[in-house]
Every structure is written in structure tokens, then in C-alpha cells.
Amino acid sequence: MYSANTVIGQTGSFAKEKRQAQDFEFKWPSQGLTSIPDWIYTSPEIYEREIERIFHGRTWNFVALEAEIPNPGDYKRSFVGPTPVVVSRNLDSTVHVFENRCAHRGVEFCRQHLGNTKEFVCPYHSWSYDLVGNLQGIPFKRGLKGEGGGMPKDFKNSDHNLKKLSVTTLNGVVFASFATDMEPIEEYLSPEILKDFNVVFAGRKLKILGYYRNELPGNWKLYHENLKDPYHATLLHSFLVTFGLMVAGSKNGMITDPKGRHGTLASAKPDNVAEALDDATKKEMRNYREDFKLADGRFLDYVREFDSPWSVTMQTIWPNLIVQRELNTLGIRHIIPNGPHSQIMMWTMFGYEGDDEEMTRHRLRQGNLMGPSGFLGLEDNEAIKFLQEGVRRSPSDRGVLKLGGETTGTTTSVIDESAIRGMYAHYRQEMGL
């Protein structure tokens, strides 16, 4: 899809690991979690295994915010992993998720991002389904009068409902799973992660401010890594560093759940950055520029609307959700894996019902930090793209993750890769690697 993806070193069925040896086996390097093999980012086989074991496995996948489908009959076209689904609110207000694939011939029937309907009708042969995904009507089910045809006598509609997923909601956020025996969402998230999740989703009704969508030509796991990697934040993003949104030496935290799959990258903005930093720290951060001054600094203001010690929390919820609280700009990012070399990102930005005009405009102004044109957002997209190109094109075959030693999980230092190692400890278990 992304045309620049097809340029150098990329041919149709190119799989780097196959070039290395005919009888290549996916065996994790003997160094363990301090060594990350390139093939987890490039291999079509690994990608297929991820879809089966992770996205279609025992995980809760984000599919919608309830604020997007507030009324009976409202629906949203969404995805679980790469699989198209529909999120629908029934007349009794319950939320349902089913595959966006007609039970007849497989047509992806729902084409609108958001809408309201009484029923879903496949455009090809007009099979119709109710708001929970049950097959309602088949045209000419009994054939044409006098000419026969039609379905066999023993055909039962109830055997041909849309494939339904397990659904749960938590404070206005809708998750779905292909697994039928999932633990409750609170347990899945863990108390460590719930704590900051419940700051953004505290029961206040959300007000949707709008959407961004982009294709990021990099493996889906790289986005999780990016937000479990506090080290990059202080080095790549001049904006964060210069204007004190996050600097080495200020109060930061990288919190993970006990399994290591979810994370919260947290920081507390110092009141005065220049004073918070000593000269040695400034020197290490080559992007720190004391001479930078904003003509209009309003958009970096922090309105203390949350009961939290952190001014920023970026949460990675395994396997497909990012919850962004960057000062007062709030949003979620829905990750849709798109082959080993690509992911689609769906951003939903929001505020709260009851925000006054000035607060809404503050959130809109602060939105310049994030998204595919954000002062921070576009740099992450570029860096992840560069990483994917590096692992795809180079004959070298692994990366190194040694900051902080061999530990996994929660850390207080930002010069540490424990959270990424923790995620891959969990990943290896799920993937049998």
C-alpha cells in the first residue's frame, strides 16, 4: 500500500531469513532477551503466527470507544488484528462485535467507518443480519414460485450467523476477543496498568474531537517498543527535551504489568527545565537547545485536571492499543497489523463532555504534539520506518538491548530497556520461540 515501501531491497516474496539458510529455523539467539533477531520484524511466517496466537488468541483487543457508538443502532467498522469486524450497539444498548464477513460468500459488507442502522445488509445478495449479528433474511430462501430453487429444507438461519466475538467494556472502552474464555478485562490489564488507565477513563463521558489515520511502514511491535523505550524519548524528540515535557533526570517511570506485555511510560513535567538539568545531562542530550523559544507557548501549558502525579502517561495495552495522555491532549491509537513490514494506525482524539470552549481549543492546540504531523508523532513514524528499512535490507541479523542489564519489567531510570525485554519475554512464551 505504502508505495515507498516497494523501492529498495523489496521484492514480492522476499523473506530475509530464507536467504540466510535453506533450512532456517526460528530459534531465538542464545544471548536471550538482550538480543533481538531481525526475523521477528520481517518474516511472513512469524507474522502469521502472531495473528493466530496473539491477535486471534487469548488477548483483549481494543475495537471502539463507547462514545463513538452512543445510541442503539450505532455501529463502527473496526479491526481485531488485521481482521475486519463490526462493533454494534443493539436496541437494548448492549455492545456486540462480529466479523465483517457475510456468512454467505465472505463479502466484507460494512463499508462505513461509523453509522446508524436497523440491520446490516450484504450488498451482494442482500442477506441481512440484525444488530447482534444473527442472520435474519435470505432473499428467495424458498426459491421462485413454480420454478424451484432456494435453500434445502433443512437450512437453518441460526447455523449461519456472523462469527461473533467475546466483548467487554471498561469505563467506555470496548474490547473484543476471538477467545471464548478470557479473564475479566481488569485482571487482563493488571492493577499496575489499571491505575493510570482509570485516570483517562474515569467515568467522565468522552467527547470525540476527531480522527487521524496513517500507514506506518514498520512492524506493529515497533510501536509497542517505541512506548516502552523511555531512552529514545529524551534523545529523538527535541521538543520533549527542550520544552521539558520529558527529560533525563526529571521524574519518570516505566511501569509494566507482571507479565510484561502492557506498559505505562510516565513522566512529571518539571516547572523549570533549565534548572532541572545539570550541565553533564544537557551535554549528553544533543538535541537539548536552551536557545529555543516559542512564539506562542500556550500549547505546552498543563491544566491539572487529573488526580495523578504524572503529567504524561503513554500506555501500551497488548496487543493493539495505545492510550495517550500527553498533558491535556488525549487519544487512543488503534494498531492494525498489515503484514510484517507495515501497520495501520487509527488515532481517535477526544476530550470530555463538559469541556468549555477554551479547554477544547487547548486540547486542539496541544494536539500538534501528536499524530502523523505531530512534533513528536512524526519523528516516531520516521524513526520506526528507518528501523524497518534497516532490518529489511541489511544482511546483519540482530539488534542489541542491553541498557539496564538483563532485567525485565518496571524501571525508574529512563536509560533502560527492561520494559522492551519484558515484552519479548512474554512474546516468546506466546509464540513458542
Binding site: 476527531g210 527535541s238 513514524n381
Partner: protein, 175 residues
Amino acid sequence: MYAGYDMQPPDARTVRELRLEIEEFHTEYCNMLDRGALDHWVDFFAEDALYRVTSRENADAGLRVGLVYAEGRGMIRDRAFAILHTQMFAPRYMQHFTSNVRIVAVEGTGSSDGSLIKSQSNYLLLQTLVDGPTTIHQSGRYYDTFVRQGGRLLIRERQCVYDTVLIANDLVYPV
């Protein structure tokens, strides 16, 4: 799509003169962007200008978020400065093509200071990554309100509404 853009235009002669003037404005504006002279971007805006780039999906639904959202010349200047001096991204060239300029409303005579002119124009934004092909990065439309100050037109409001909802990675430079 935007309120006021379905209005009947004023008299034909005024429309023709303003259309030519706005076409010239676009030419200079796009030339500035396409040669990367972002430090002059702010010169095209009035002090209290609103500048927003957003998808057609958002615009149609009345959602206010901007991929880029600037209130006033200060924010416009800051974004230009950030792109020129702080942002990390792969080198690229951009080319804008504008057409179908349509004058939709004039408040005042059009030629007198303080006149407001509403117009819409189609744009095509091509991106060439230095090691890649040239691609259509955005197909979109400007919904503009110009104000005449000191004889020249300045942008009071520019809504860049793109149909290319799924962005190829990111949008670095302004539209």
C-alpha cells in the same frame, strides 16, 4: 461541507478579478512551500489567522481536530521553526498544484481594506522521498477566508481538507 461555501458569488467582474488575485496568491504561497522557504510561511497570514489541516472524514462530521492546528501567527511561526530546526525526518521534496479557484462570498467591496473574501480551491500535493518514487500525498481542497490588509490579501482562515484519509506515514511540511 463548510457553512457559507454554497453561497451565490457576487458580480462576475469582481469574481474574475478576485479569482486572478487568489490564483496569484496560491502561486506565491505554494512556491514558498515548495522551495522550503518556511521562514516566510507566516507572512501569508493575518495576525489572528486559523490554519488547520484535517481529513475530509473529520470535516464532513464537523469534528474539530487538526493534523496541524494553529491559532494565530505565533503558532504558525513555531511550527515553521520546528520543521526547519528541530524535527527529524527523511529528506523529501514537495510540489503543490492548485486549481478550480471559486469565489463564494465577498464581504465589503473586495478591493477595499478590511474586505473578507471566501474562496475554495482544489489542491494536489505530491511528495518525492529522495530514495523513492513521486506519490500523490494528498488530494484536497482549501477552504479559505482572505482579509485585505494594506491592499494585499492575507489568510484569515485556511482549512486544508484532504480526501487522502489514510496518510502515507506522516505529513511533515505544511499544505
